[in-house]
């Protein structure tokens, strides 16, 4: 046992691990909380902080000055953990989750002070916290009473008898809200204000608001619980009602220090990067400021989360949250203090893009641009470009240096991460620093949904390699209203939209889209779009379509797969159809940029087992209600079912990776109550029937050799899996597994190999290859956790991309945290080590040279002496 463990440790040590001094050198992590739901600014404490609760079930504390995260606790995943009530007061934070859990947090470090369950159905209950008591208010229109349950906040023990406030005015349509210690109900054109926490006879205030159709609580200073009913802002000030009419969607109510007058702050967006902040005192606009933002936000609505004001001529600081999940901290004086891009928690697509070459290199490339010119001209060009190079070397003010920040480096390690979020916001980030280079807000769009996951296709139509032409990327969304497709085409380096703000409206519903392999004369790759009438559209229309071209469609609900042949006139001819009759949970095709270097696998007797590298092979996973999980390997050109593999008594979540000639999938085995990883590797055999070309049609009779193996993955949950990818495919592959506990595990393919022998014989070892004996349980080694102690919450997906170095692969994981790093599955064999000692090697070389010279002298002297003897 120990022997195998030792072997495993050795293998890991060979493959990958980080040194402690490399922390943060190749990686960065950014922590987010998600779209703000509740917030509170603690301005009175010595350390000014902001406490927030988000749509992503996170409770956190931010520093007021910089917006950095001080602590964060993430509650239960999914709707069960949704935070429905949030309160800050008296050195405690209170949250109520949808599952009925009331938790009291220590605001200083985020540890739990108390936690208890509310014994009520949470759906019809409003909450309020007042003086160490927790009130759950049931508004029951059936018995025409408001029931107030009082609990001790610290323990959850029922504090008092249930207080019953008779309310004969309650109807089915009555809508109630709480703010601070006040309950407000909107009843047929009037707002009733109750004070459930006050003892004795309950006083009910009433304000008629004839035109109001909705009632929302408004952010307000302590002691000024306010609501907005229609256009009227109702403020309860010391058991008196004050109303003010402000034409503004989002307001904050506060009071001025000296005059004690009610003050309202109103924020409205003017454009995508411009907002207006107005201050009203007694409905009089006293100041108006225009704020220029460094990001793009949704123009539709902006919500004032909370504010704090000071001074007699009031100057306030406010937290705003916009529809596109951006959190802003501004001062009403017209300054943006900080911006948090919380939309980054909802990334649905990400792409690594090349940066343009530097101006100097571009000049050199221009030199070789057109070959038709004569020798003399070429010579002068050469001279010119060299002169230019010298010039740029000498003068720092040269224009070449100004744009040097965003240029490609020698090893292709500097790239741009383009991420598209489900709210329609697009980000470009620098992969080395994680800095946001530009943002773009695409209005009125929603992402597509594919097997339960949100998805917006991103097409890299042209990289930066074709110098006179700029790089071009297209993003496909659907319009929120008409469900028709919209194509946004942009230059990824600058973030400029090519077809304007509204994008290119396609005028049809897109069913399927793909990037074509060929380029047109402008080096632009075309996009093929399939509408709901099976009509092919090309974008740009003149794009070349390869021949013969086949298209397959997967109907996920019914499990029907249909294959089409694209005819000369771009009409589809249905050629094959499979019907699994089971819902499809996952479809895994190979990464189109993947390259496979080795066409076979060397066995220990030095013969070759050729890989079955079918570019048209996909893996379709279906799951039946009786918990049978099936993997179907389908050749999408011939429509052949290469193999079907079934796993009985299994449950999701399923994750699958399909690469080269193998398949890895993870599932939960219900019978043995553990997560299992199965791997399938496909081989053509010891000979290759056609070593130059692969044709699915002529290979339809052929059945590959399948090797299958299963391993126990001793973890409780897997959130995502992905394979590493490198430029030429020479480097060995690793599987990145995002665990539910927030780590990303790098698992060498060697461990998952289905051909791990049951017993390693000595002649297997002799060949110098590392052969691992089969062990059913995979080792989880802490050295293989690429994010070390930086826990990542709720990883949704991992993206990998090749770098310019063959050894190195980029990894970008996103969820509530963003994490970027680079991994070298076969170690960095093509670059000197980070800790390479240049001084030592120079020293040694110098010493050797000196030694040779000296010893030569000595030797000649000795021979002379010898001759004299």
């Amino acid at each position: 046992m120990l022997k195998y463990l030792l072997l495993a440790v050795l293998c890991i040590a060979q493959t990958h691990s980080l040194y402690e001094d490399q922390v943060g050198k190749f990686d960065w992590k950014q922590s987010y909380v998600g779209k703000l739901k509740f917030s509170h600014i603690d301005s009175r404490a010595n350390i000014k902080r902001i406490y927030v609760a988000s749509e992503d079930n996170a409770v956190a504390s931010l520093s007021l000055g910089s917006g950095t995260l001080l602590w964060r606790q993430v509650l239960e995943k999914g709707p069960q953990g949704a935070i429905v009530y949030f309160h800050y007061g008296a050195n405690s934070l209170v949250t109520v989750s949808f599952n009925g859990l009331i938790r009291v947090w220590n605001p200083n470090d985020g540890s739990l002070l108390a936690g208890w369950t509310l014994p009520l159905n949470i759906r019809h209950v409003k909450f309020m916290v007042d003086g160490g008591n927790f009130y759950a208010i049931e508004v029951s229109s059936a018995i025409k009473t408001v029931l107030v349950h009082t609990y001790k906040l610290a323990s959850g023990s029922l504090n008092d008898v249930v207080k019953k406030i008779p309310a004969t005015w309650l109807t089915e349509s009555t809508y109630c809200e709480t703010n601070q210690n006040v309950l407000a109900c909107l009843v047929q054109g009037s707002v009733k204000i109750l004070f459930p926490s006050s003892g004795g006879q309950t006083q009910i205030l009433e304000q008629s608001v004839p035109s109001a159709t909705f009632l929302t609580p408004v952010s307000s200073a302590i002691g000024l619980p306010s609501f907005k009913a229609g256009n009227v802002v109702i403020t309860v000030n010391n058991k008196n009602i004050e109303t003010s009419q402000i034409e503004c969607n989002s307001v904050h109510v506060d009071k001025t220090e000296d005059t004690n007058k009610v003050l309202a702050i109103c924020v409205r967006p003017l454009s995508k990067s411009n907002i207006e902040v107005d201050i009203f005192i007694s409905q009089q606009k006293i100041s108006s400021n225009n704020l220029q933002l460094k990001t793009q936000i949704a123009q539709s609505d902006i919500n004032v989360q909370s504010c704090f004001c000071k001074g007699s001529s009031p100057s306030c600081f406010c937290i705003l949250s916009s529809q596109d999940h951006t959190t802003l901290f501004i001062s009403t004086q017209g300054k943006v203090v900080w911006i948090r891009e919380e939309a980054l928690t909802s990334i649905i697509s990400a792409e690594f893009l090349d940066l343009p070459v530097s101006d100097v290199d571009a000049a050199i490339e221009k030199e070789f641009d057109n070959q038709e010119c004569g020798y003399f001209e070429m010579f002068t060009r050469r001279l010119m470009s060299q002169f230019y190079q010298i010039q740029t070397l000498l003068s720092i003010e040269s224009p070449a240096f100004k744009s040097s920040a965003l240029v490609r480096d020698k090893f292709g390690l500097h790239k741009l991460i383009l991420s598209v979020t489900s709210v329609g916001k697009v980000f470009a980030m620098d992969n080395l620093s994680g800095k946001i280079l530009w943002t773009l807000y695409l209005a009125n769009v929603t992402p597509y949904s594919v097997t339960g996951k949100q998805f917006a296709p991103v097409f890299v139509q042209r990289s930066t390699r074709y110098v006179p032409y700029p790089a071009q990327v297209s993003i496909l969304f659907k319009q929120s209203t008409s469900k028709e497709g919209v194509l946004f085409t942009l230059d990824p380096i600058t973030g400029q939209l090519i077809h304007g703000d509204q994008g290119q409206k396609l005028g049809y519903q897109v069913e399927l889209s793909t990037l074509l392999p060929g380029v047109n004369k402008n080096h632009l790759r075309g996009i093929l779009l399939l509408d709901s009438n099976n009509q092919i559209h090309l974008e740009p229309p003149s794009s070349p379509v390869p021949k013969p071209y086949f298209i397959y469609k997967v109907h996920p609900q019914f499990g029907v797969l249909t294959g089409y042949f694209v005819q000369e006139d771009l009409k589809l001819q249905k050629v094959w159809e499979l019907n699994f009759g089971q819902p499809v949970v996952h479809v895994a095709s190979k990464n189109p940029v993947e390259k496979v270097h080795s066409q076979g696998r060397v066995l220990y007797d030095r013969s070759v087992l050729y890989k079955y590298l079918n570019p048209n092979l996909i893996a379709v996973a279906t799951h039946t209600p009786d918990n049978v999980f099936s993997i179907h390997l389908v050749d999408v050109v011939s429509g052949n079912l290469v193999e079907s593999i079934i796993h009985k008594r299994t449950m999701g979540p399923f994750h699958m990776v399909h690469s080269e000639n193998w398949l890895v999938y993870v599932y939960f085995n219900e019978k043995t109550r553990r997560n299992e990883v199965s791997t399938v590797e496909m081989f053509e055999g010891k000979t290759q029937s056609n070593s130059t070309a692969f044709s699915s049609l002529s290979k339809s009779l052929f059945k590959p050799i399948l090797d299958k193996q299963s391993y126990i993955l001793p973890v409780s949950q897997v959130d995502a899996i992905k394979e590493t990818i490198t430029e030429k495919g020479i480097t060995s592959k690793h599987i990145l597994i995002a665990l539910g506990t927030g780590s990303i595990l790098e698992m060498p393919w060697m461990f998952l190999d289905p051909r791990r022998p049951a017993q390693v014989t000595p002649d297997m070892r002799e060949e110098g290859q590392v052969v691992l004996e089969y062990t059913p349980e995979l080792p989880i080694l802490s050295e293989a956790i690429i994010n070390y102690n930086q826990t990542l919450y709720g990883i949704k997906n991992i993206h990998t991309a090749p770098s310019g170095l063959e050894s190195t692969c980029f990894v970008f994981a996103h969820g509530l945290d963003l994490f970027y790093t680079r991994v070298a599955p076969s170690k960095t064999f093509d670059i000197l080590k980070e800790d390479f000692d240049y001084a030592l090697i120079c020293l040694v070389l110098g010493a050797l040279i000196v030694g040779t010279v000296v010893s030569k002298k000595l030797a000649s002297r000795k021979t002379l002496k010898q001759a004299w003897k």
Partner: protein, 245 residues
């Protein structure tokens, strides 16, 4: 079948916990199951339709009666091609177009399943309508897909007479899905057990003498010494000569 029974017993376990109504229901289910087990071996029919041009109109090619899936027991009843059909098929082959088929699986008391498959028309012609069907089944023995495989996979452009294209000669094979792998814990535990036992016993004592154990190292050493001794005088003389000069 065994699987189904296991499922029954599994659910039978649940019944004890739940109410009486469930018991009756599952009893009914069990009975139904047992009934089905007896009768569901019934045969079904597969209707074959083919397209002899690029249009969307298919014609009937024939019918396959499936008697028993496990023993590939099927009967083909296919219409011979008339001269017009042959001409159309040859025209398709000349265009390098596809010979497409729709396959309708007709089972009693069940919705028809329509599947499609195709082959190159030229390979169909060159294999003289000699083809086979691979029928893929799922774990419940439902037909999931069919693929048409002509006898000749590649087109070489050889001439085929019309007489060769008169009738179809077909075969049908059924493929059931494979059971997925499971972690092999049993043999691993046994191996660990064996190793532990071996460790406890302590390996077999090596009672051989020193020479017996290490002869393979000593013999080469001896040979080496002997050979170097033989070679040494020459080397010595050469060295001496060099030194004298």
């Amino acid at each position: 079948m065994a699987e189904i029974k296991i499922q029954i017993s599994r659910f039978a376990g649940k019944i004890n916990m739940s109410s009486f109504i469930y018991q009756i229901e599952s009893l009914f289910g069990t009975l139904l199951l047992l009934f089905l087990v007896q009768t569901c071996q019934g045969a079904y029919e597969i209707k074959l339709l083919h397209y002899l041009d690029d249009s969307n109109f298919s014609t009937t090619r024939g019918v396959v009666e499936v008697h028993n899936v496990d023993s590939n027991d099927v009967t083909f009843r296919q219409h011979p091609l008339n001269p017009g059909d042959i001409k159309q098929l040859k025209a398709l082959a000349e265009k390098d177009a596809f010979y497409r088929m729709d396959i309708v699986i007709q089972q009693t008391n069940k919705k028809d399943i329509v599947l499609s498959t195709y082959a190159k028309a030229c390979s169909m012609v060159e294999s003289k309508l000699h083809d086979s069907f691979n029928v893929y089944l799922d774990h419940n023995n439902n037909v999931v897909g069919i693929s048409l495989l002509p006898y000749e996979n590649l087109c070489s452009g050889k001439h085929v007479t019309d007489a060769d294209l008169a009738a179809f000669r077909s075969k049908m094979y059924f493929y059931a899905p494979e059971n997925g792998p499971v972690p092999d814990t049993l043999s691993y535990i046994q191996k660990i057990e064996r190793e532990r036992e071996a460790r406890e016993k302590g390996g077999p004592k090596d009672n051989r003498s020193f020479l017996q154990k290490y002869w393979m190292y000593l013999v080469p050493l001896a040979i080496f010494l002997a050979v170097s001794g033989a070679a040494n005088p020459d080397a010595q003389s050469g060295g001496g000569g060099g030194g004298a000069r």
